[in-house]
Amino acid sequence: MVLKIAHLYPTLMNIYGDRGNLTTLIYRSKLRNIKVEINSISPGEVLNSNETDLIFGGGGQDRQQFLIAADLQKKKAVLQNLIGSGVPALLICGSYQLFGHYFKTATGKEIPGIGIFNLYTVASAKRKIGNVVVESSVDFKENPNSSARPNFIVGFENHSGNTFLDPQTQPLGKVVVGFGNNGSDQTEGAIYQNAFGSYLHGSLLPKNPHLADHLIYLALQKKYRLCSLPKIDDGLEWQAHQAAVNRAFRLKKRLGLFRF
């Protein structure tokens, strides 16, 4: 089996270690004898539907978002078709924002998005930075955990943008530690069909093997009618996940120190 991943704008949207998400998808696929092909799509290059089983976009600064916005508009139709047909996608931070309707920057400029997620983002003066624990709203078919335990997703956020979801939009989950989309409504991220948007770095997938496997499963189930993904040794992944969750809770309690 071959998993073809379209990596959107890798040389521009690559600032927060989000490459780790691809490293994770490749590693976990390889252990199951699934070959992974990464297609890097830069501005001006064509996104080929036939060569795309999964879509990935990472985080970047305002400047890089300006640079890709126009090109992203040209790919709007292709991306809407792909995601509408159930192709899974992972969009982090800057990419997540541009998959919404628009992003209004601190200078008042509005960068148009492609409206896959029904949301919009507005820059704010306050930067939302810190460890995040999210109680996931995703139904993980491949989740090794029993449903009795809270289903957490753990990561780290760093954004000034406040994202507001349309009431009908499903968030990635409910914020337990951290700010999330806007620091007020306790939502984090967004889901549309099999596209997942989130502010979480960390990187996101290494410590959330259930989410990583869910994405791989969705891609291969659509392409090959795969019934289930073979289990692999996740001991260290879950150890890291739990340690990060504990750390997030512990740091939440500490007093913030002022800086001179």
């Binding site: 270690g17 600064q61 930075i129 890291a240 340690a243 750390r247």
Partner: protein, 465 residues
Amino acid sequence: MRPLRATGALIIGKLLQLSLKRLGRGGGTALPGLVALWVEPELLTYLSTKLAIPQILVTGTNGKTTTVRLLHDILVNSGLKVISNRSGSNLKRGLISALIENYSFFHLKPIDLAVWEIDEAILPDIINETVPRGVVFNNLFRDQLDRYGEIDTLLSKWRESLDQLSPDTFLVLNGDDPNISELVSINRPNTIRFGQRQDGDLSSKLPHAAESRHCPRCGKLTAIEKVYTAHYGKYNCPSCGFNNHSLNISFTQVKAEKIKNNIITQIEIKSRQSHIDIKTSLLGEYNLYNITGAIATALLLKIPIGVIQKTISSSRPAFGRGEVIEIDSRQLNFFLAKNPVGLNEIIKTLPKTKPKNFLLVLNDEVADGRDVSWIWDADFEKLVPKINQAIVSGTRAEDLALRLKYAGLKLDKFTIDKDLTLALKKIVNLSQPKANVFVLPTYTAMLGLRKILADWGKTHQVWQD
């Protein structure tokens, strides 16, 4: 100006500093300054005016401590009395603590010059208060993502601050870093750009941690003629014509040879006025940039070449930047690792001989940066083949262990031990007598290790550096 309050602040700070040292609670390189500033927030402005000495600021992502140490030693060897925040305490409280160190019996001891290592985020503030004689910019990489928000914001704050500087203030800029080279106009007087000039084959493919493939002036994809390290290189933008070819001072690597147990690198430094041969035992290309930056500054200050050469050739690595400490005959090599570019450079510098034992420590305290995502941007895949056995420690040890697993390190080659003292003991015991062991910690982990070693009597305390 409030001289009484300032004096009060100095006295209180001094008492605190003496007490801390007497009680063995550290070297007083931060807290006394913090308290003094609380008493008189404008203390730095007051002292700058009172002392009326030239102050030189050194900033950038990687290499500040080494550059400051080299410059400090060159100046001292030329007969000047120099004050510096040598322990790497580079926030305002660090400068004040160093000045308090110099305060004795109600007056400030005479000094000729100050050389300060300055944290990138507070540079504009320090420029405002000290009105410096000169500023040195090493480089700008992603570092502690959560502390600085975005690089572009930092750059624009720097530019704004530099625009307001008197043209008499000299600037020493790393010309191979396009972001730094572009900080001021090419026509600005009293501005020196330094960099590497090497002929020969260099890869034209940028390693992943590089983030400037796009012209810093116009944003278009630019052709890079040569790539040195990370995003350093000779840029030539076809769209707007930006190029950083014009260097005032350049270094060329001549050769590296093994003399006794050290590797000595020889470089040639060329400027319009001079041609200097330099020998150094500091390793890594990044250190050649640090050396050249320090030398460029020293030349501006009219320091004789002989003094410069002698100082550089006898310089040993600064705290945690390649220094070697012996424990039970094992040679522990310490390399501070705090961001992807720095770590990639360290990995490149490691010996290509058979695999060694490593102690890797990842902390996420405020001074390290809370966001550990950066480890996924560092090329651990290149480190893995050099690892025989690794012990992983720190507040985020599990993250680092996972990174190693995904970089291809077999599970039986590493263990997690969150107790730093135990981890250090273990790696020593695991290693053969006289073996080289490599320790790669983040900043607070380095401080923690240093304290353990000082308690064991293996080395002096950080502030005695």
